[in-house]
Assembly symmetry: C2
DNA sequence: AAAGTTCTGGAGTGTCAACTCCAAAAGTTT
DNA sequence: AAACTTTTGGAGTTGACACTCCAGAACTTT
């Protein structure tokens, strides 16, 4: 019933919550997001979530039909959190300076995390892509929003003539997001931001070379 | 006891196997690799592996101390398989033509898989990075071999003067591996090779721009 | 061929995780 | 304040999964 529905369709189905109920639901999603970011979905039991959120068994199942539904709420939450955390930089990636500032921000963020955990969206996507088609679709939408923000900045540069006419903002945006995702993965595995820096610097240098 | 040891140290510890024993062990690792590639480590039970390999419970635990040890064998197997599959291209990435042929090969491979499953090494690394330090270290070694192969090709171009002196083969190799990993992830999530193509094309175009 | 080792079958065990259920407390509406 | 809905606590159920154990078969070595 929830399977196959988009995240928005699910939201429309949700029963109304009292203020207190909303607060409890939020605590559950936040706790689950943090746990699943570090331990993965399979590595996080509903018991773990209950303990971290300070709620009882029945509360989790009052607000979420099952664990898969909770996971989809976590994906929605993390998508917003990741995009919000990059603002206002992400909304204005329309110059080399802006791109470099964004790069520094991302590298700093991973450094502050001691390179623990990769991308909150990418990790979940990787874990669930072949076992939960709805989760995969939600993650795809999240990546779409991310790529779109990058593309808009590059498109603005293109429109202004700062990027050569034969440069393709769409390809560059997708390539940049891929480099970022791969850089985050390598950084997590190597426990070292060098890979993230190399990936983003390579892409930004490439974009710079395309400024006529 | 096995924890903290490198994969090579473990291999040195292993008891000798008869030909038949080796064959059984191989069947288990191969079956586990295929299952874990598609369903993940957590999504693959030892029962699943037994059924797929056609062995009994005790056989799995005769050849592997526990599931974690089996997973490390899977990582070793997949690392070899992934690098071997890219040969001989990967061993000679020392020209733009070679890089483009390699790119086509990788894109084709994902297309033939219908974009199912990401990178056999990267997926496992992402799943286990924060829960199994030994597995994380094994994956890091695997990525190291991969990056090294790419770097050697670029270094050869650099030595021959085909790459500008200020180009950094190490950064380009890491960036290329990151772009590949991110491209594979996006391709898996989007069910579409466009992202992999965009990522690799961007990096290779960048390398081309660095040929003086 | 005897002795020793490796390999195999399969039943059994303990734990843990997802999910259910019911009754009571808290909150809202009329 | 009565009727109704939402929220909460926690005990209980069910199934799955990692791992153990033991006895016998197959194979190797002497």
């Amino acid at each position: 019933m929830l399977a196959g529905m988009t995240a928005d369709e699910i939201a429309a189905t949700a029963p109304r919550l009292t203020r207190k109920g909303q607060a409890t639901r939020d605590r559950i999603v936040t706790a689950a997001s943090e746990l699943m970011f570090l331990r993965g979905v399979a590595g996080t039991s509903t018991d773990d979530v209950q303990a971290a959120a300070g709620v009882s068994t029945s509360q989790v199942y009052h607000y979420f039909r099952d664990k898969r539904t909770l996971v989809r709420a976590v994906i929605a939450h993390q998508t917003d959190a990741v995009l919000d955390a990059q603002q206002p930089l992400l909304g204005r990636l329309d110059s080399l300076d802006a791109l470099r500032a964004w790069r520094d921000f991302l590298v700093d963020m991973q450094r502050q995390r001691d390179c623990l955990g990769g991308c909150p969206i990418g990790s979940i996507g990787s874990e669930l892509a072949e076992s939960d088609p709805d989760a995969r679709a939600d993650v795809a939408v999240g990546f779409g929003r991310w790529e779109s923000a990058i593309r808009q900045g590059l498109q603005a540069m293109h429109d202004r003539g700062e990027l050569r006419a034969d440069a393709d903002p769409e390809q560059l945006a997708l390539g940049t997001l891929a480099a970022l995702q791969g850089g985050l993965l390598l950084t997590q595995i190597r426990r070292d931001t060098v890979a993230l820096e190399a990936a983003l610097d390579s892409m930004i240098d490439h974009i710079e070379a395309l400024t006529s």
